[in-house]
């Protein structure tokens, strides 16, 4: 899906835990995430710490979308 959407010329950032799969399918902008059942979160943390972690991950994704890349890049 990532690749086909990007084919329309829209930058896509893939937030995924198994980044090797993400790279294999051809995502150009990748943000590594926490775990398979909770990529953008971590239930083991307190609410405040989890929010901080989640905020950082989303910020990283937005940074990826505003950064020019020429090859597969992890943020």
């Amino acid at each position: 899906m990532v690749k086909e959407i990007e084919r329309f010329g829209i930058p896509v950032v893939h937030m995924s835990t198994i980044t090797t799969i993400s790279e294999a399918v051809g995502a150009n902008r990748i943000v590594p995430t926490i775990a398979i059942p909770y990529p953008v979160g971590n239930p083991n943390l307190s609410e405040a710490v989890e929010l901080d972690l989640r905020t950082k991950l989303v910020k990283r994704a937005l940074t990826a979308l505003t950064t020019e890349v020429t090859e597969i890049t992890q943020f």
Partner: protein, 348 residues
């Protein structure tokens, strides 16, 4: 003397449990468990499964180094003649684990490895010419056919017999080139091939070229504060009740839901129907899979111009590459027409 085999399986085939046990650390049992039992019967004349390594799919992929340390220690200790992993069918995480175990055991210890995967399993790329991979169907119904093929290869490898070509021995091509002798010289073969092509006859290349399908990275967003960002997930987050009946595995369709007037995907209104991971944490806070809440906050704070009115979703587990391509094209078309400037895709 019989040859020794060690078997690798995930938590499900290791009969520990389903998704709720996918986080289990690797363990070793000195017996044949799950598919290793059937496999053991198939090789019993010549070999024996001396033990089964069981590891949770999530644990392996999230803690590869620790998992591999445990696994390598076991393999070194028992020094088997062959290692068997899977078959993983079309299970992506299991496929990645089989490939990870297979490539390290083969490269570091020189022990031959046999596994089985569906042709679209993402683990197949990761094998990268190390393990022998038997082509198997996309689901476990293919176990009965897969094991004899894997056993045949394993016996050959364990006994150090010469391995024939992929199409003869029944494994997927490894991308290796072998020197073979031909009774015709190259120029003659090339001309014959060319003539066949002219006549539109069937011909077979002697060196298939790898197919690389990459997409040029799209230009970055210049001004985020004026940009519209869309959220897409393959994590199966849907409105509670799953109104469009999106499949929990092997998805045939995707859904889109209007999120213009909400600030978050709360646990009452949304849930996951994804059949490939433990849903507890996503059901409690669906934003952990698709972070709509934080995108809305960024919109409110003026960091981004707008969150696109619709959020797109489907299930990634077992979904064919063909369907995923179709979904991507359809969703991409809509987003393009709507003037979306950037997309966040989350996967579980």
């Amino acid at each position: 003397m019989k040859f020794k085999a060690i078997y690798y399986v995930n938590q499900f085939f290791g009969q520990i449990g389903g998704e709720d046990k996918a986080g289990m650390k690797p363990m070793f049992k000195e017996e044949a468990i799950g598919p290793a039992m059937g496999f053991n019967t198939l090789i019993k004349e010549e070999g024996e499964v001396v033990g089964t390594i069981i590891c949770g799919d999530n644990y392996f992929n999230e803690n590869k180094e620790e998992s591999m340390k445990f696994i390598m220690d076991i393999v070194k200790k028992h020094n088997p003649d062959v290692l068997i992993a899977g078959p993983a069918f079309n299970a992506g995480r299991y496929g990645m684990a089989c490939a990870g175990v297979g490539s390290e055991v083969n490269e570091e210890l020189g022990i031959p490895v046999v596994t089985g995967m569906y042709i679209e399993n993402p683990g197949l790329d990761a094998v990268n010419g190390t393990a022998y991979v038997v082509s198997v169907p996309d689901s476990a119904v293919g176990m009965r056919d897969a094991l004899p093929k894997m056993a045949k290869l394993a016996i050959k490898l364990a006994k150090g017999e010469e391995m024939g070509k992929p199409e003869v021995e029944g494994y997927l091509p490894q991308g290796k080139r072998l020197t073979v002798f031909s009774d015709k010289r190259g120029s003659k073969r090339a001309v014959e091939m060319l003539i066949k092509r002219f006549k539109n006859e069937e011909f077979k290349t002697e060196m298939p070229m790898p197919v690389f399908d990459t997409v040029e990275p799209a230009d970055a967003i210049k001004d985020l504060s004026k940009a519209t960002i869309a959220l897409v997930t393959s994590g199966g987050i849907v409105p509670t009740g799953n109104p469009d009946r999106i499949q929990s595995a092997s998805a045939q369709k995707w859904g889109k839901y209007n999120v213009a007037d909400i600030d978050a995907l709360t646990g009452n209104a949304y849930c996951t129907i994804h059949g490939g991971y433990d849903p507890v944490y996503a059901n409690a806070v669906p934003d952990r899979v698709a972070p709509l809440d934080l995108l809305k906050k960024n919109e409110k704070d003026g960091v981004i111009g707008k969150v696109f009115d619709y959020f797109y979703t489907t299930t990634g587990t077992g979904t064919s590459v063909g369907n995923a391509i179709t979904f991507g094209k359809e969703i991409g078309q809509e987003l393009k027409e709507a003037g979306v400037d950037g997309v966040i895709v989350t996967s579980t």
